[in-house]
Symmetry: C2
Subunit: 259 residues, 2 copies
DNA sequence: CGTTAAGTTGAAGGCGCTCAACCGACGTGG
DNA sequence: CCACGTCGGTTGAGCGCCTTCAACTTAACG
């Protein structure tokens, strides 16, 4: 099950078998980590791209005041391209046990000789950027309750895009501390917001699993619009789906139903 | 004064005269706008890159609840690459009168045939991403007062990087409403935070101008570290500066003093 | 001079924070 | 095997930062 990257990219751009092969045969050291490990420790981020094969990680910053802020979650198939500069003031930490591959920079360049892969990677980066913008909107515009709901919608949808959402249930290795650190709120208050969601029977979180009980209502209170995650390119609508849908906004909606 | 892009890129990567020429001779319609105009209205964002020549703009989202959130400021020399997808749920608005160029996608590809320019553009995008992460940290970790101070430090520094910071003073066409919308706080409270900064004689904002009165103290209360803006690549330290500095962290610090 | 947008000030209240204690699960080591 | 420490989760109390609403002033502009 290390094909999350292929599954993710194939959502946006049609990939040939050759493309899939080269994506599956990337060079670079593959290493397992435990929660709390920092896979970038001692690594030169200008030389290689970090690719999540299994498990979750977070990009975060610890401020001098002792507060931790998570700015991004990395799920299986997500990657962090080598950055031109060495240090952006951020660090990365595993949130669950998982497997990470450090792909050398040259291999990425080689990969991009396939036009489809190059465009798919651009697309992925574009979605990443849009997601960060959406986080700013989420924190800036919504109250704690809706904010949490929105994040859960996003995570479920991202898991869905790599076929790791089973109906309406998926893994969620995050602690409440993690969730609070990514939502700009205290863990105490996050706990209360979570209990409200539970009490409303919208979601159920336990044993590192997330169950979406009422998807429509959850998205409604979250004000969630998955267009920024771009499951279905508007320019190149997926034929499986397009044929069943009226033109316009609906093109952006998801296909799979997870109740 | 339409060379902000060149000045910005040249901070990171050495550009040949040929590079500078092609950057200065980009094709694409050049158009003036007034505050409030939406330069992307009616434009296909998958087909062209928006380049700010003069003035400021903002990328923002209006939520159904009526709240506006600004997720990014665009200063002269900043650009928004054509995105693979059509709509990310964000819109763009001029914050001052200014001049914008819409560069066709092909021209960007041509431009990237110069290795230096390609790397410089990558660098710029990397800084853009790091800046958005820093905004999340800013909003998530700091209280209103420090948050505002941090934003002002960033904006002054960005203006400095395109030679538009004159000593310790630069243009600041933002209204308090704009500032509040980018800092996840109400305009009323922003006004109070601003008055505190003024009362402490750290900054002076009036008549669309920002004056940094006590830079060191301002950065201190903001917890500001300009490394994410990457004035001086650590991998390729600027020789003008490097020779005067001890090795290590200090390499990252700025050269110019703006008191 | 009338209108509109931006800035300022005040009052009231709530959302969310801090601090703190406690519980339960889990892993480790005595 | 049990004691213990640690971590994550839960609950309560108190309070303060920040929001909302509102009125008013000031500035810009036709």
């Amino acid at each position: 099950m290390r094909q999350a990257l292929v599954r993710k990219l194939a959502r946006w751009i049609a990939l040939t078998d050759e493309d899939r092969r080269s994506l599956g045969a990337l060079p670079g050291r593959i290493q397992g980590f435990m929660r709390g490990d920092r896979p970038l420790a001692g690594v030169d981020p200008t030389a290689c791209t970090l690719l999540m094969l299994e498990g979750w990680a977070a990009e975060y910053k610890d401020t001098p005041s002792g507060r931790r802020v998570i700015v991004e979650y990395l799920l299986p198939g997500d990657f962090r391209l080598s950055s031109p500069h060495r240090d952006r003031g951020l660090d990365m930490m595993m949130l669950s046990q998982g497997i990470v591959q450090m792909v050398p920079q040259e291999a990425i360049r080689t990969l991009q000789q396939s036009d489809a892969i190059r465009r798919a990677l651009e697309w992925a980066e574009s979605v990443r950027s849009a997601t960060q913008a959406e986080w700013l909107v989420n924190i800036g515009a919504r109250k704690a309750y809706a904010r949490l709901a929105h994040l859960l919608c996003e995570l479920a949808e991202r898991m869905n895009s790599i076929d790791m959402l089973d109906g309406n249930i998926c893994e969620l290795p995050l602690t409440q501390i993690d969730l609070a650190a990514s939502l700009a709120m205290s863990n105490v208050h996050l706990n209360l917001a979570l209990q409200r969601l539970r009490a409303a029977k919208l979601v159920d979180i336990s044993a590192r699993r997330l169950i979406i009980l009422k998807r429509t209502e959850l998205e409604a209170i979250a004000g969630f619009d998955d267009s920024y995650l771009l499951r279905w390119p508007t320019a190149l609508p997926d034929r499986r789906r397009h044929s069943e849908l009226p033109p316009g906004q609906a093109e952006r909606r998801r296909a799979g139903s997870w109740h």
